[in-house]
Symmetry: none
Subunit: 197 residues, 4 copies
DNA sequence: TATGAATGAGAGTTCATTCAT
DNA sequence: AATGAATGAACTCTCATTCAT
């Protein structure tokens, strides 16, 4: 029913990111988003099925595009460890680029509303697949240990990056996420233990 | 104003865990929690300031107790790597023990409501400190690398465990979290890379 | 869930009759009814499931009581033709007594809303049964013709009375319905044709 | 403003009967009617002033035509009692012919909206006049009793037929209305009482 | 004539919280 | 301490109507 294209559609998405980042999902009334997008309240419903659909669509548009870009760039590299570095970099870089989007992504999409969660997860699983592929490749290339459990590795990679970004978003100080890439990569690859001589 | 002790206080906490796990925070009306706890709606407000305070108090009671136990057990071990294993074990074991609590912890406390987040964080930071201490000790003992950034390490440890538990809670299949302890520990200590001969 | 007793329940019913008669069902906002009944909007929902339920309950209370009274009085008479006269009288008298109720009954309950119609019909069928019983008795007593189809007779009796009252309600002039009892009764009993000498 | 002629006008009327019969007046959105009529939403407003006007116009077109036909056929008969039979027949036959129209007529036009009711009544009164004329003629011809009150008689005739058709429309079973003509006619003429020997 | 995207007013209902008993 | 009836603010979504093209 809802027509998910056009300039107004994009405007509403942008307005939603802004308003939700500022007020939180629950305090981001549809009328507030409409005003920010300079359209009438009813117009929102020409492009979105309901309020939840705004958040889901927003996530789909933004994260979907990110995943595509990330995949393209990652696949230009040969070695799995380089791919992992690129993935870390892309994740942090993307979130650095748009703090409002990061807020929405890290905080507001973590609603317990089942419909919302399901919609979000539909997008997220493509990202988790991308991580899996890097891990599989690493094992195949003999760079990552054969005993590495890819499900655990995936959760470590995603869980760590997610926590790093959440922490950054919640923090007053606006430090540079990109500076963390090497540290994180090193931790993933070599672990905590002291390097052998 | 609210008296945070007594049998009824505990009953309400237990009722809240049950009801919130089942219906989600937004669908866990105060009257539903009151009925489950066999008290009147108004009685809730003799023990809690407001609905948010129920969730925060619940988190404080449950996770606070967990942190104390975890700290006690961890401090009985000497080596940081053993402590880390114990921390992983305690985290997963605790969540395994009470699935309802795990649901509330992993899903329902992730509300974007600022008051709620602040209350939750107040408790959580004690846990994050505990993690920090293990990392510091590891570096001091020369078990963990001197270049390990404790903030990154802490986010890796917490982020990974959090993601592992969330994933377990969201999953239909009820696999045994405890079985993952060694894999996770190994990944944290040695990283992804293939072991040197 | 809704508690359909108590003083407030009755107050709301009375307020609803008044407000709906004056503004029509669609323009009788719940808040208007609440104000008229001197209760808060939310209080309405302690006594009624929803707005439709107000109209249905109102009809049930008022018409249900009327049917009981009518039945009691009718059954004190022996002859079916006397019972028919009493039924006509009771119908018109009842409506004369409370013009607001008549307006609601004749106009506002004729909504095409299926839920509403079903609720209304549940009450109405008891009245139609009462009419049927009078017709059956008349045939049994040999007062009404053996060939009279009770279904048609019932529709004639109800349809006529309904149209008479609707017409009265719609009319500006407030003539006395009771004066029509004999004419209607005569028409039902003897029909249109000129009396035999 | 609205041009009430042309092929599209008729198409919209037909579409409206269909859609309103199926979904009810309130669920028969203008856009639904437009789609059924294969025109744009805005086009509706070139032919009708507003949504109410569609229902009123529909009633006018359909019932107006019916009244004309009924009058023509009735006036070909001499005796008032034959005319009454023809009127009953025409009423039931017409409704039998187009169940959708019957649904709209019996259920959906009974809206409490004053504007709508006024528009409907404007058409209906021509029908009531036709009934009156039959009654007057019967009295003049000495076929109907001189004491018959024509207003009561009219209400009996219309009220009964209306109730018969409403009952038929609401009923699941699709029995033949035409079969009822003689019974109804007999009841109108001779009343309920047992025939004199 | 015809289109259909855009408008924006309007209302039922929920539920955390209070307070008289 | 405990009760639970009463409160009333708050918000999503629908849909008849318009008007630039």
């Amino acid at each position: 029913m809802a027509k998910k294209t056009g300039e107004k559609y994009q405007n509403i998405i942008e307005a939603a990111v802004k308003v939700i980042a500022r007020y939180g999902y629950h305090q981001a009334q549809v009328s507030k988003i409409a005003r920010e997008a300079s359209v009438a309240d009813g117009t929102i419903y020409l492009y979105f099925d309901n309020k939840d659909d705004i958040l889901i669509s927003l996530f789909k548009e933004k994260i979907g595009a990110f995943i595509d870009t990330a995949r393209t760039r990652i696949e230009q590299l040969d070695r799995a460890d380089d791919r992992l570095r690129e993935l870390i970099y892309m994740h942090l870089w993307q979130m650095s680029q748009d703090r409002n989007l990061a807020i929405v992504t890290q905080i507001e999409t973590r609603q317990s509303n089942p419909v919302l969660r399901a919609g979000i997860y539909d997008v997220l699983k493509h990202y988790l697949n991308l991580i899996d592929e890097v891990v599989f490749l690493g094992k195949k290339q003999g760079i990552f240990g054969p005993d590495v459990d890819h499900r655990i590795a995936r959760k470590m990679i995603f869980g760590t990056l997610d926590e790093v970004v959440t922490s950054w978003v919640m923090n007053e100080r606006d430090y540079n996420l990109i500076n963390l890439v090497e540290s994180i990569h090193n931790l993933f690859i070599n672990g905590l233990k002291v390097a052998k001589q």
